[in-house]
């Protein structure tokens, strides 16, 4: 009997967006350490590979003012992960950190320190966000050309790896287009040597960056067919970098609604979506595309009959849609065909949950997606902070364990890279290449 593929799950610390329901009775603080204590203890109980923390370096704005409808406020990535290292023993700690608004020497020092303090559990989700809005909080300010974002990211990661490889044993001398780094690194080689590199971009540039540099991709394609298409595309790129299929794990972000019966789950899914998409949130969502103030429209009425503004961004601090006119047209068609109000449409578009069902149904879906190679696992996103994953851990995890594709305990002393069943690094190398491709390298 062939062994089942092992499912890899990460626990998404509740994010700063409308997925996180702040009006729920058990909704806690976004920042009190108590929330992180509960969330990480539960995730470690659920034997997740790692905790995942997103980053946003400026409070989001909508129509020129702070966006006040969603939860807001978050910890600084490295400091909170280090504090969580102090209350956990096995779970990986993956933080999102920008390659645009940091410098390699400092970030390499911090990540190596986190890897030491956590006993080899550090991971780095490399993001390249680079607009002037965020830049206004940083020394470099301004804007980095779109094409240069991943170029800087790639050079950033390779400088960091040179520093991690050198440890305190030899000076580093790097002179490239984006960085000049010359001197000794203060942190000795850490338990994992390089923290696990995660990537979350979706463009062609993002995908090739991942194929070359990343060990995990945090994707947004969780639905089975889309997940498989993404999986095939990205894993298909690995060969050209001399890498094997299992040297890169793909974990899409997934939400879930758990019920005692399928019908119960469906009802809860509707309630959850209504809480995530308040009337005000529905209007704001449509304003993002229309590029104008729509506060006079009824969220329970039809979409605005006016045309969207082209080339206007009313929302800052989040990834934006490229073609508002086309999006508006598609929305109209959908709303007309399905007779949806503004709020219903927004729920249909954004309030969709990846998994809805009983624990056993959800476990079946997760297991199937992994066994059929649509994905290597999922980043599980709860709807409330900090209790959003409590039921998942109590009910879905045992079901996965019964199916024989999920761990029943952590391996003692395992690093994050080992939690993820990733191959060990090639000593001394800054690349993930294992089998040289083509001629001599």
């Amino acid at each position: 009997m062939s062994e089942k593929r092992r499912i890899h799950l990460a626990a998404h610390i509740p994010g700063v967006n409308n997925t996180t329901i702040w009006s729920a009775p058990d909704a806690g603080s976004q920042i009190d350490f108590e929330s992180f204590e509960h969330f990480s203890a539960n995730a470690e109980k659920g034997l997740f590979d790692y905790l995942f923390l997103a980053e946003g370096l400026r409070l989001r704005e909508h129509k020129g003012r702070l966006h006040d409808l969603d939860v807001a406020g978050r910890p600084s990535t490295l400091a909170i992960l280090s504090a969580i290292a102090g209350i956990t023993d096995h779970i990986g700690l993956v933080g999102t950190l920008s390659s645009t608004f940091n410098e390699p020497f400092e970030l390499a020092k911090q990540l190596a320190s986190l890897d030491h303090l956590s006993g080899g559990r550090a991971g780095w989700n490399v993001v390249t966000s680079s607009d002037a809005f965020h830049g206004a909080n940083f020394r470099r300010g301004g804007y980095l050309d779109f094409a240069e974002r991943y170029e800087r990211a790639a050079e950033f990661v390779s400088v960091a790896k040179e520093l991690w490889n050198a440890g305190v044993d030899a000076p580093v001398s790097h002179h490239g287009k984006h960085f000049d780094v010359e001197g000794d690194f203060p942190v000795p080689v850490s338990p994992q040597r390089h923290p696990v590199v995660v990537q979350a971009g979706d463009s062609a540039d993002g995908r090739s960056f991942a194929a070359q540099h990343a060990e995990v991709i945090f994707s947004r394609h969780s639905e089975f067919d889309a997940a498989r298409a993404f999986y095939d595309d990205v894993k298909g790129r690995l060969g050209q970098w001399g890498r094997e299929e299992d040297s890169l794990k793909i974990l899409p972000a997934s939400t879930f609604v758990l019920g005692d019966t399928a019908a119960d789950a469906a009802e809860k899914a509707r309630e959850t979506a209504l809480a995530q998409v308040s009337p005000q949130t529905a209007i704001a969502f449509v304003e993002q595309i229309w590029g104008k103030d729509l506060s006079a429209y009824d969220p329970d009425g039809p979409l605005p009959d006016i045309e969207p503004a082209t080339d206007v961004t009313v929302t800052r601090g989040r990834v934006r849609h490229e073609n508002p006119a086309a999006v508006a047209k598609a929305w109209r068609e959908k709303a007309d065909a399905e007779k949806l109000s503004i709020r219903d449409l927004v729920i249909a578009l954004s309030g969709r949950h990846s998994f809805i069902g009983t624990a056993s149904q959800i476990a079946d879906e997760i297991d199937r997606a992994v066994q059929e190679r649509a994905t290597d696992g999922f980043v599980i996103v709860g709807a409330t902070n900090p209790h959003g994953l409590d039921d998942f851990v109590a009910e879905v995890i045992p079901e996965l364990q019964e199916r024989g594709s999920y761990r029943t305990s952590y391996d003692e002393g395992a690093t994050l890279r080992e939690n993820l069943d990733l191959p060990p690094l090639v000593p001394g190398s800054t690349s993930l290449v294992r089998t040289p491709v083509g001629a001599a390298q």
Binding site: G73, P75, S82
Partner: protein
């Protein structure tokens, strides 16, 4: 304010004598837990943690991350990492410290340092090491502190409202952008982190000369100075007070701490012998900016008492050997101070601000609103 003196200890990856052996497993969390746990158990008020981008000896870890990692396993001691200003991002510095304050439930502080800015420049490659005059670096450090304080206040304590009726999670009138545009950098937005439990983390600076006393007098709560004898102990206090006048400091006056490099023995002779042995191991007599005190616990306590009487609010002790001298400070020095009624063994709960005798930090925006309402 209580006139109890405060005791801090300055920790690094090794003791302060270069001839002393480095810490065993200086890169493991367990080691730091044990060290800082020892200090907390002894009633030491806060620890500072050394840091730099330049490698020292066998290397070291990031101080802010050590402090954050130790925060959950401690409950009383203040955690004051060194975070430098010349090559870091002010926004990350401020929000990182703010997060430490949340994780430690109000026990975070900041030991501000310019750092070895010239030596560090090639590690970053974005500033010319020959174009970093000290005056600019100090002005920049002042700006970094100012921005950090703006960001720490940027969320009023009652900013989160969870108002289901209007669908609003927070009140946008209670969150304020920094809008800081200085000579060296700018920061536009508000902090991404809600206000820290202490409101404002205590800011501390080590200073050896007038321009740095002035920096401290403008921006800090605590200044560490390095008197070499009784005479200079009195003189330095005067210099700090002069600097406060020159910059027209208002409100609370600076808490002045004396730094001492401490090697303790059962007898003064054994302490001196040990110092000689370490000097020999290092190949040179110990050279330090701080007075080297190789003596007994009694003797050290006498000096502390005498300088406290001059006006020193506290002392930052740099252990010559780790962990030996830290253990001796905890085991021998603190009980003597407590017994003499000089150090408060009792009031050890609460925030670092409380421990330091600093008043609650009002939010600048709350205040201005009140004034507007009155006007």
């Amino acid at each position: 304010m209580s006139d109890h003196l405060r005791i801090a200890t300055a920790l690094g990856a090794s003791g302060w004598h270069p001839g002393a052996a480095g810490l065993d497993r200086a890169f493991a969390l367990a080691t730091w837990r044990e060290l800082i746990g020892t200090a907390e158990g002894a009633g030491i008020d806060f620890v500072t943690i050394e840091d730099s981008f330049v490698r020292r000896d066998a290397g070291h870890l990031d101080a802010l991350l050590i402090a954050s990692a130790v925060a959950p396993s401690t409950s009383r001691i203040g955690l004051v990492p060194t975070v430098t200003t010349a090559h870091t991002e002010p926004f990350h510095v401020a929000t990182g410290l703010q997060t430490l304050d949340h994780a430690s439930r109000g026990r975070g502080g900041w030991r501000v340092q310019i750092g070895d800015a010239r030596a560090e420049a090639p590690l970053f490659g974005r500033r010319d090491p020959d174009a970093l005059p000290l005056g600019d670096l100090l002005d920049e450090a002042g700006d970094v502190i100012e921005v950090a304080r703006l960001l720490w206040d940027s969320w009023q304590d009652d900013a989160v409202i969870r108002d289901v009726e209007t669908g609003r999670y927070f009140d946008r009138d209670r969150i304020h952008g920094a809008h800081f545009n200085g000579r060296f950098f700018g920061v536009e937005g508000a902090s991404i982190v809600p206000r820290p439990p202490q409101g404002q983390l205590p800011v501390t600076v080590l200073a050896h000369a007038a321009p740095v006393y002035e920096l401290a007098a403008r921006h800090a709560d605590v200044v560490y100075v390095t008197p070499s004898d009784d005479g200079s102990a009195a003189a330095l206090l005067g210099e700090v007070r002069d600097a406060e006048h020159r910059v027209r400091r208002t409100g609370e006056s600076l808490r002045v701490y004396a730094d001492l490099l401490v090697l303790l023995g059962d007898s003064a002779a054994s302490a001196r012998d040990e110092l000689a042995r370490l000097d020999e191991a290092a190949g040179a007599p110990l050279a330090s900016d701080a007075l080297v005190v190789a003596t007994t616990a009694d003797d050290l306590v006498n000096r502390i008492a005498a300088w406290h009487a001059l006006g020193y609010a506290g002392f930052r002790l740099r252990p010559a050997r780790l962990p030996e001298d830290l253990v001796r400070i905890g085991r021998d020095v603190l009980p003597l101070l407590d017994a003499a009624g000089l150090h408060g063994a009792g009031d050890e709960t609460g925030t670092l601000r409380t421990r330091l005798g600093l008043p609650e930090a009002p939010n600048r925006y709350t205040d201005s609103q009140k004034k507007e309402a009155v006007a």
